[in-house]
């Protein structure tokens, strides 16, 4: 019988272009703050799981989790790296969840980090390209924005989704980010700003794309039973699910749905015995604006093809039907790749504790995180609930 698992500590660094700080500084700050937030000492930690996608390409450093344990002062506990491209953080969280649920470890720290601005933008793009099919997509001249542009074009073709609707995702996420002191972007933008920004891969423009960001996030997990010993309001992980799909986008039956998301969502709702309408707040993987629209449909919040209209009608705003990406999402809060999946959990923990300040969703009791690797070859979903 598996044990129930709760998050008792959550923290993140400021996301942004952090020229003064390196990978080690970022992850150590997030990790130490998370342990402090859990009201415990480092001695009680049994293991670390670290999510990072491309430390080898971005800072030339592999074997990264032993280094994290070192800089957090946690040697000699086991430290394991988890990699699933942009879903590395979410899969690290799931790995930590499994370790506690199984009873093998009592207290684990899950960290996620990426240091992306130590290399040129071109080199960062090449590193991110590793999330797709190198031989048959990237080698042929495709880029990551182009892969999502191919999805966007099909979504527009099949459902009449418009570039204005996609732009509204960016506008909303910047608006939320402006209320989040940890977010990369602190400014609001207009639809006009999006539509006038530089074209990257048509129909996607710069403001349809998440930025290149440095940052780290961490959470502390333990069994629900033990959680109350440390904190008054533990946040229980009531569902954890993960699914995979073809690495290359062109091998999928449909470009307008991520089957890994659909499958993981079904499993997560089953595990939590909930329906999409029970979710009060959700962080989805909006690496590009079209990705948020597709995710909002695949997660069951809106019918397939109606995600664009839902954004246009404001249904995903704070305090609307389903608030999506209150942190600002990947678009507004930033996307330090390996950190993103963990940061999503940090945002939901803050929302469920009532600590999200200017972007607080009223009476939020159940929240969801949705983290995607590449163009959809991995999807990992968690559902969190207040357990006090």
């Amino acid at each position: 019988m598996r044990r129930r698992v709760a998050i008792i500590g959550a923290a993140m660094t400021k996301f942004g272009e952090e020229w003064e700080r390196g990978f080690r500084d970022l992850i150590a700050e997030a990790g130490v703050k998370a342990i402090e937030d859990a009201h415990m000492s480092g001695k009680e930690i049994d293991a670390i799981y670290g999510g990072t996608m491309a430390a080898g390409r971005l800072i030339g450093q592999e074997h990264i989790t032993a280094l994290i344990a070192d800089y957090m002062g946690l040697n000699p506990i086991p430290a394991t790296r988890v990699e699933a491209a942009c879903a590395s953080g979410g899969v690290a969280l799931r790995t930590g969840f499994l370790a506690v649920a199984s009873g093998f470890h009592d207290v684990v720290v899950v960290g996620g980090a990426e240091k992306m601005t130590d290399v040129s933008v071109g080199d960062a793009a090449v590193a991110l390209g590793g999330a797709g099919d190198q031989e048959w997509e990237l080698f042929m001249g495709a880029t990551f924005p182009a892969l999502y542009a191919l999805m966007a074009r099909r979504h527009m073709h099949e459902f009449g989704t418009t570039i204005e609707q996609m732009a509204m995702v960016a506008v909303k996420n910047h608006k939320n980010a402006a209320r989040n002191p940890y977010a990369h972007f602190q400014n609001e933008i207009t639809i006009r700003d999006v539509l006038k920004s530089k074209m990257v891969a048509s129909p996607l423009r710069v403001y349809d794309c998440s930025p290149i960001t440095d940052g780290a996030a961490a959470v502390v997990l333990t069994s629900l039973e033990k959680a109350r010993k440390y904190v008054d309001a533990p946040i229980e992980i009531i569902a954890s699910s993960q699914a995979s799909d073809t690495l290359a986008l062109h091998h999928r039956k449909s470009l307008t749905t991520l089957n890994a998301t659909v499958v993981a969502a079904r499993k997560a709702y089953d595990m939590a015995k909930l329906k999409p309408r029970n979710i009060d707040v959700c962080e989805v993987h909006d690496c590009f604006t079209i990705a948020e629209i597709i995710a909002s449909e695949d997660l069951g919040f809106f019918k397939k093809g109606e995600g664009g209209k839902a954004v246009e009608e404001g249904e995903t705003e704070l305090d609307a039907r389903i608030p999506i990406n209150t942190s600002g999402g990947l678009k507004g809060c930033g996307h330090p790749v390996g950190a993103t999946g963990v940061k999503q959990a940090v945002e939901i923990v803050w929302q469920l504790r009532g600590d999200a300040k200017k972007r607080q969703v009223k009476n939020a009791e159940i929240g969801m995180t949705h983290n995607v690797g590449g163009s959809g070859a991995t999807a990992v979903i968690h559902i969190l609930k207040r357990a006090d």
Partner: protein
């Protein structure tokens, strides 16, 4: 630039130059790029090479204005997912065509082109691109 080593590039020559994929003799499914193991039949499958006609239709497309390292001189260029007449889809650049003619559903055919090169003294990688069919 995406680093493709010499052995890696050479072993893909049949596929890139001749659009050679594979077909499973058991379930009749065909694959591009070629697969040694049929994912449907696994150990019960038996694959053999097949050559595609090189004809297909545009399934989706995008014009890339921000090129990756190594493709700077090409930008802006068109990237498409092409659905081959035999079924499989692939990602390819579109060549020799006017952007106004590029639309979902338009018939296309394979052409042989240079894809990229490893600097001035390195390997030149050739392979398929597609153009609007006459």
């Amino acid at each position: 630039m995406v680093t493709i080593g010499t052995p890696m590039s050479w072993r893909r020559i049949p596929e890139r130059y001749g659009l050679i994929g594979s077909e499973c003799e058991i379930c009749k499914a065909n694959f591009f790029p070629a697969r040694k193991i049929c994912p449907n039949c696994r150990r019960r499958g038996r694959t053999k090479p097949i050559r595609y006609s090189g004809k297909g239709k545009i399934y989706s497309y995008s014009v890339i204005y921000s090129p990756p390292t190594g493709f700077e001189l090409e930008a802006p260029y068109i990237i498409a997912i092409v659905e081959l007449d035999e079924g499989p889809r692939l990602t390819s650049q579109m060549d020799d065509c006017d952007l106004r003619d590029v639309k979902i559903g338009v018939p296309v055919e394979m052409v042989f082109r240079k894809i990229q090169e490893d600097g001035k003294e390195g390997l030149i990688h050739y392979g398929f691109k597609f153009k609007i069919a006459k």
